[in-house]
Subunit: 434 residues, 2 copies
């Protein structure tokens, strides 16, 4: 059973705070191990990567086999069924169309003193995408990471995907080829992150690393942050559904389970203005759990972290949602647009009952790499913006420098930065002399 | 003497690589100490902050005196001279005008299958700005951090500024008041970062922490990243000047020194297409260094990390600049706009000889918080974008779900995520029945 809450209960506030602050992730502290791995890869390059791959993935490689060859990729892609191929192609086209609209504009203007100001966006030169191996090796994540980079204009795109015991998911290679990836390395873990950040004899360093991973990958990304850019440190997935009684309880139940089945630490929460509807959804979840393939994952997630919250009205629902700052938010209400206007913190909103969150995971167009663990309070999902950076531009004329130079000189003096002031003064003196 | 390079020398490439990879910062490893401080603040709140402030800043406070009172702020602001006040007000107005143009637009559109897609930007609710104490307590940095947050619409803005032995810079308080800061705490170090990230009895937690600091502050920001957002981990400042012979060597000399005077680890580099001009600039630097107030800082910076590089033409200069990805780039050439088009990685560009970098530090309009240590390869200066986040929006119609739902279901099956598929299938079945 999930937890049930009623906003009018005396203990609601305390219990809701506990729900908000529950630590769902129990990551082992692997920081010391990861520090050693990164140091090893920096010192010994390929040799370290090959040894670590043999050790962790039980896979003996040589430097020339770190990357998949074109023939290997073609052979794996040939295994992809027509149906899967078409579905991935449709997804890629829709994701690309959405992300193309994200490309930000350059700006330039002349202000009131005659100074030309503005900025210009340029793409990151090279990006590396981490793709987990095994169960969580999702072709959809390849598209969601690679396509924004490709749209941004990133020239060189690499993927690292571990292949424990040599097993690879052909769909991952197909998705990579579909989204313009240049090189696919069959390595994983902290060693893959270190190799992408610092480079080895065989693996060229990149400027930005994105993509999800286990505790080792997360710790490695945190450590190389600064040397290269990273996207975010993702935690377990979560969904919040706000639904009124005008919904089929079973639809809401499968929506909640579609998060719960990701991970025992995933969280699915329903907020409704009808307590009976909330109970009906919980009953429908239990019924689906009897037969769901991943019930051994979804069941514990729902029991340990699931919640059904009853509120008096949808304004209260929006207020609680904003405190949760959910990664995914479904608004299954009569006027989802009006309710959406009241949402200030959420990674992605799915409006109306015809938009189950799974549509966003695969094919809607928006990115499925989204801020977890309440980080939608301060961060956004992956986008083209993660693969571009802005250069600011300023150009003074003699008249503009005359207008504002003295104030700059004054501020430099107040901060005891004499040379700053002199760099302005030398020019102003010249203007005054001439 | 700085290092001299000629791109035609046989050993140029090796020496330039060494220059690129020189580690200028020798941060002590304070991570273990910082971890303890954060744990202490989380466990004991105000009490820990007060004890650590007494220990590190030699300042005995009580909880009710952690923040400056309105009277204290008014009294300090009254000490600011009219000239300083006017200069800061002009700077604030120009910085605000520039950053107001950065506010990104919301988008919404209906695509070919009738789905409504888009995104919406919302401000971070609360931001905390770290301002170093002592020598590096710059009022200009208060403006550069606070104004973008204010423009973004951040509702609550706090500052932490340590006041060792109780000493405060009145200009910092004035700049804070000018840029809409609500609360100013007289605390610093890792304890201030921990208090802003986790909150204490007196200090309300924020969602995003920005601003420069020493090794303790940097380590603390890295540790709380994820719990809150952070801007960047800033390193020592740097400038690259590309100048042809049509410049006064002394102007270029003071421009180079305006970086060198920040920090012994700062770096100033000149690239010129005229070796004689390069030598003339080096001579002018030496002359200025004889009398510069901060020669004990600027001298070692120039000697240890300064460089004068001679190239054959400006295309070569642009190519080297892109490999350096400088924080600040001055283009003192006849056609700076044309040269600027060739620059792919730089934090900020200052175009033409009337735009010394100091203008950008104070009053040009663009932000002076910029990516250091070659991180302009993948990141941007501080902006309004750091204080907003994007929520993606998707709304299907029954027809849209019919069009793309089957492909989503297929992809869910290929990833063995049954409930994802069921959430689509339940709706499609309903549509097919009706």
């Amino acid at each position: 059973m999930p937890q049930f809450f009623d906003i009018d209960d005396a203990e609601f506030e305390a219990r809701f705070e506990t729900l908000l602050n529950a630590k769902r992730e129990d990551s082992p502290d692997v920081d010391a191990i990861v520090a050693d791995i990164i140091a090893d890869v920096r010192a010994r390059g390929d040799r370290a990567v090959l040894e670590l791959t043999a050790k962790f993935d039980r896979l003996d490689l040589t430097a020339d086999r770190l990357a998949f060859s074109a023939d290997e990729i073609a052979a794996e892609c040939a295994k992809v069924s027509d149906k899967d191929r078409e579905a991935l192609e449709l997804a890629a086209a829709r994701i690309r169309a959405y992300h193309e609209k994200q490309m930000p504009d350059d700006r330039s203007w002349i202000d009131d003193i005659g100074a030309t100001l503005g900025w210009r966006w340029t793409p990151v030169s090279a990006a590396g995408l981490y793709v987990p191996g095994g169960l969580a090796s999702y072709p959809s994540s390849v598209l969601m990471n690679a396509i924004p980079a490709q749209v941004a204009g990133v020239k060189r795109l690499a993927i690292c995907v571990p292949t424990p015991d040599g097993v690879i998911n052909p769909l991952v290679l197909f998705a990579a080829r579909l989204s313009g990836v240049d090189t696919i390395y069959r390595i994983g873990g902290a060693q893959a992150v270190a190799a992408m950040a610092y480079g080895t004899e065989t693996i060229q360093a990149v400027d930005k690393i994105t993509g999800p991973g286990n505790a080792f990958v997360a710790a490695a990304k945190r450590r190389v942050f600064g040397k290269v850019g990273i996207d975010m440190i993702a935690g377990p997935s979560e969904i919040l559904v706000i639904a009124d009684r005008h919904n089929d309880p079973d639809w809401i139940a499968v929506d909640l389970l579609s998060q719960a089945e990701h991970d025992k630490s995933a969280q699915s929460v329903l907020i409704t203005d009808d307590a009976d509807f909330g109970r009906a959804v919980a009953t429908a979840v239990d019924k689906r759990l009897e037969t769901l393939e991943r019930r051994a994952i979804a069941g514990p997630s729902w029991r340990d972290y699931g919640a059904v919250i009853t509120v008096r009205d949808l304004d209260q629902a929006a207020a609680l949602s904003n405190r949760m700052a959910p990664e995914h938010l479904e608004l299954c209400v009569d006027d989802p647009d009006a309710l959406s206007e009241k949402i200030t913190h959420a990674g992605a909103i799915f409006l109306g009952k015809w938009t189950p969150e799974a549509i966003g995971d695969y094919i809607g167009g928006p990115n499925h790499v989204l801020p977890t663990a309440r980080s939608a309070r301060f961060s956004s999902g992956l986008s083209v913006m993660d693969f571009v950076k802005r250069t600011t531009l300023a150009k003074m004329t003699p008249a503009a420098l005359r207008a504002i130079g003295p104030a700059a000189e004054r501020l430099a003096q107040s901060e005891s930065l004499e040379a700053h002031g002199l760099s302005v003064r030398a020019r102003l003196d010249h203007l005054n002399e001439s």
